[in-house]
């Protein structure tokens, strides 16, 4: 019986990196052209590490089209890109496209999914794919979950793991998550980094750019070098990705203590800190406000009113992700990228 080709997925979010924060802060742009380039770099790395097929969803912004065109060119041939299969899904141009692509890839049994997007994109994929590892690449605005990393090296780490040359205990890490539940509407949503409670009544432009629009923040982890809402805890009560607990912080403009925190790229805001503490796993917390919005991983998504009873709970059942540094350190120790004279890119085979 033929073994199925070693297959991975790539999900670029066409909408990431172009929200309101380009106006309210100094956030940069991550264009569709840039994203198509990142996908091409991943294909080169996947080809070099033995991945045979890559699934890529179609989109309305030309990313898949540009990659498909490039896959027929000289560079793709010379670098032995994997076979490219475009997932032709009916597009709604909402987060549902990301969810559907992730779902289809999981059904196809991919060994890994590379995600190009922000915290929100990773959250949407993670909720669909169970324990399929994610190779996380930041192409959003305020990202804490995916690290800002060059795609070629990340692709090598992902490809080596997916092809079975890096043991899971080295190359994978289990992440925490926050579950947001609201019984009346039957909601159960994930966040991978933070849930913020805002007095703003509408989802609107989604981003939160002012300290006064924040009443409370819950985080799975918070690193002092973070950008975005988790930076609040990161600079006051940091907690690592590996620690079992998370952190919380309650905010009010008139609090006695205040903290200067980067809420978005280039946007430093003084935030009044009422209290902060450790977020224990398994304990459901209700927001301190009677009404407002909940921002999941930096974007307002859920409006709630006095009759609603949303809760936020930390647990350790978040997605698996590739630990790129650990994977590549292992690859270096075991010379996983050494090549023999038969390899077409061995120096003896390269013409001058």
């Amino acid at each position: 019986m033929n073994r199925p080709p070693l297959t991975v997925g790539i999900i670029p979010n066409p909408a990431s990196g172009r929200d309101l924060r380009r106006l309210t802060a100094n956030a940069g742009l991550f264009s569709s052209t840039d994203k198509a380039s990142v996908v091409q770099r991943l294909l080169g790395a996947f080809g070099a590490t033995g991945i045979q097929r890559v699934l890529l969803p179609t989109d309305m912004t030309g990313i898949a089209a540009a990659v498909l065109k490039a896959s027929r060119g000289r560079h793709a041939r010379d670098n032995r890109w994997p076979e490219l299969e475009i997932l032709d899904i009916r597009l709604r141009q909402t987060v549902e496209d990301t969810r559907l692509a992730a779902h289809l890839m999981a059904e196809r049994g991919v060994a890994l999914i590379a995600v190009l997007g922000g915290d929100g994109t990773h959250k949407a994929v993670a909720a669909e794919v169970g324990d399929i590892p994610l190779l996380t690449l930041s192409t959003g605005t305020n990202n804490a979950f995916p690290e800002l990393r060059e795609a070629t090296g990340a692709g090598l780490a992902g490809g080596l793991f997916a092809s079975g040359r890096i043991p899971p205990e080295i190359g994978l890490r289990r992440n925490k998550r926050l579950l947001v539940r609201e019984a009346r509407r039957g909601l159960c949503e994930w966040a991978l980094v933070d849930v913020a409670v805002s007095p703003l009544r509408f989802v609107g432009g989604r981003a939160i750019s002012r300290a006064e629009d924040l009443a409370e923040v819950f985080v799975t982890f918070a690193e002092p070098h973070a950008i975005g809402l988790s930076a609040l805890c990161g600079l006051w009560c940091p907690v690592s990705r590996q620690a079992p607990e998370g952190a919380w912080m309650r905010l009010h403009p008139e609090a006695r203590d205040a903290l200067l925190a980067p809420l978005a790229p280039g946007l430093l805001q003084g935030c009044g800190v009422v209290a902060a503490g450790t977020l224990e796993p398994g304990v459901a917390h209700a927001p301190s406000l009677n009404g407002g919005t909940l921002a999941l991983d930096g974007e307002r998504e859920i409006a709630f009113a006095a009759g609603d009873r949303p809760t936020v709970t930390l647990d350790s059942h978040g997605p698996l992700s590739i630990d790129v540094e650990a994977a590549l350190a292992y690859a270096a120790r075991h010379r996983l990228l050494s090549i023999g004279r038969e390899h077409p890119q061995h120096p003896v085979n390269l013409s001058c």
Partner: protein, 325 residues
């Protein structure tokens, strides 16, 4: 910039959107009778864009529109009966019946005009923004254009001028997915019109044009930026039009199931009602009252416009640049 809107402001925004919707849906019916001269291009479905942007503007702020201009006029405060009469070609119209749908204008409201030339509004607002800057006021100028116009040279020239001269100018690209019958995902390279702002050194954002509050927030940030002398911005508003490019367009190029879903699920008026009532900020009865008042206003404006006088023949030679013997 956030959505701290008073009940009065919320009700005004709803009234603006409802007025545009009823105005356009009535024109959809009336145009079929053959009484209205020329073409009409309806704005129904796109109301949150005009209402969200114009909520931040004053009468001394100028806007320039395109062929689909009724919504921009209503949101900028142009008299509804005057508009209806103008579209019917009557003397009582805001341009005395000479402009019609595609050249409707009201300078007293800062509405520089609808425009039959694709992309032609952009250089006009660059001029208006330059005037405001030279006069030392904090007025701003806004152009509304579509995905088709986003490919026009005049738009790029205006963006370049606005950027190098740091003009208080806001470029609002209303991307409804089709330039007449040509899909924007085929005809617009790089697809996100907002991405093009980077080429001119200005910020560009994409917002959900079905959500008044999303447009309102982005426009608020862009207007505040312009008034503070920080230069131009580009806002791409992604939305859809409920009717054809023009009245009579059979729309054989569109997936009508997709349109049906947008209308039933994402409609800006429906969302506005749901969100404001769920948040406890407005009562459903207040919104229903506005619906009734707007219906009566549009009915009255149609009845009056139909019975209003046509311009006399002598008007042909009035208000022109050359004196004829």
């Amino acid at each position: 910039m956030t959505t701290h809107l008073s009940a009065e402001q919320l009700l005004h925004a709803y009234r603006v959107m409802r007025t545009i919707r009823v105005f356009e849906e009535r024109l959809h019916i009336e145009f079929a009778t053959g009484e209205i001269p020329g073409f009409v291009h309806l704005y129904a479905g796109e109301e949150a864009s005009a209402a969200g942007v114009m909520a931040h503007l004053r009468d001394d702020d100028c806007i320039a529109s395109n062929h689909r201009g009724h919504g921009h006029c209503i949101a900028k405060g142009v008299d509804v009966h005057g508009m209806m009469a103008e579209i019917y070609g009557k003397k009582t119209g805001v341009c005395q019946g000479k402009g019609g749908s595609m050249h409707i204008a009201d300078l007293s409201k800062g509405m520089l005009g609808a425009n039959g030339i694709v992309g032609a509004g952009a250089p006009l607002v660059a001029g208006a923004a330059l005037a405001a800057k030279l006069k030392g006021t904090d007025a701003v100028a806004v152009v509304f254009f579509g995905d088709g116009a986003s490919n026009e040279g005049a738009v790029f020239e205006a963006m370049n001028l606005a950027a190098i001269m740091n003009l208080p100018c806001i470029f609002v690209a209303e991307n409804n997915g089709y330039a007449e019958a040509t899909a924007s995902n085929w005809s617009v390279s790089c697809d996100h019109i907002a991405d093009r702002a980077a080429g001119f050194g200005m910020p560009g954002v994409t917002v959900d044009g079905f959500d008044f509050f999303a447009v309102h927030e982005a426009a608020g940030a862009a207007v505040a930026r312009a008034r503070a002398g920080e230069g131009p911005s580009l806002i791409e508003v992604k939305l859809t039009r409920y009717y054809g490019h023009f009245e009579g367009d059979a729309q054989t190029y569109r997936d009508m199931d997709e349109l049906k879903e947008m209308r039933e699920v994402r409609d800006c008026l429906k969302q506005f009602r749901d969100h404001t009532v769920a948040a406890g900020l407005l009562d459903i009865s207040q919104l229903d009252d506005i619906d009734g008042e707007v219906e009566r206003q549009i009915e009255d404006s149609v009845i009056k416009a139909k019975s209003d006088p046509k311009p006399p023949a002598a008007d042909l030679l009035a208000d022109v640049y050359v004196s004829y013997p």
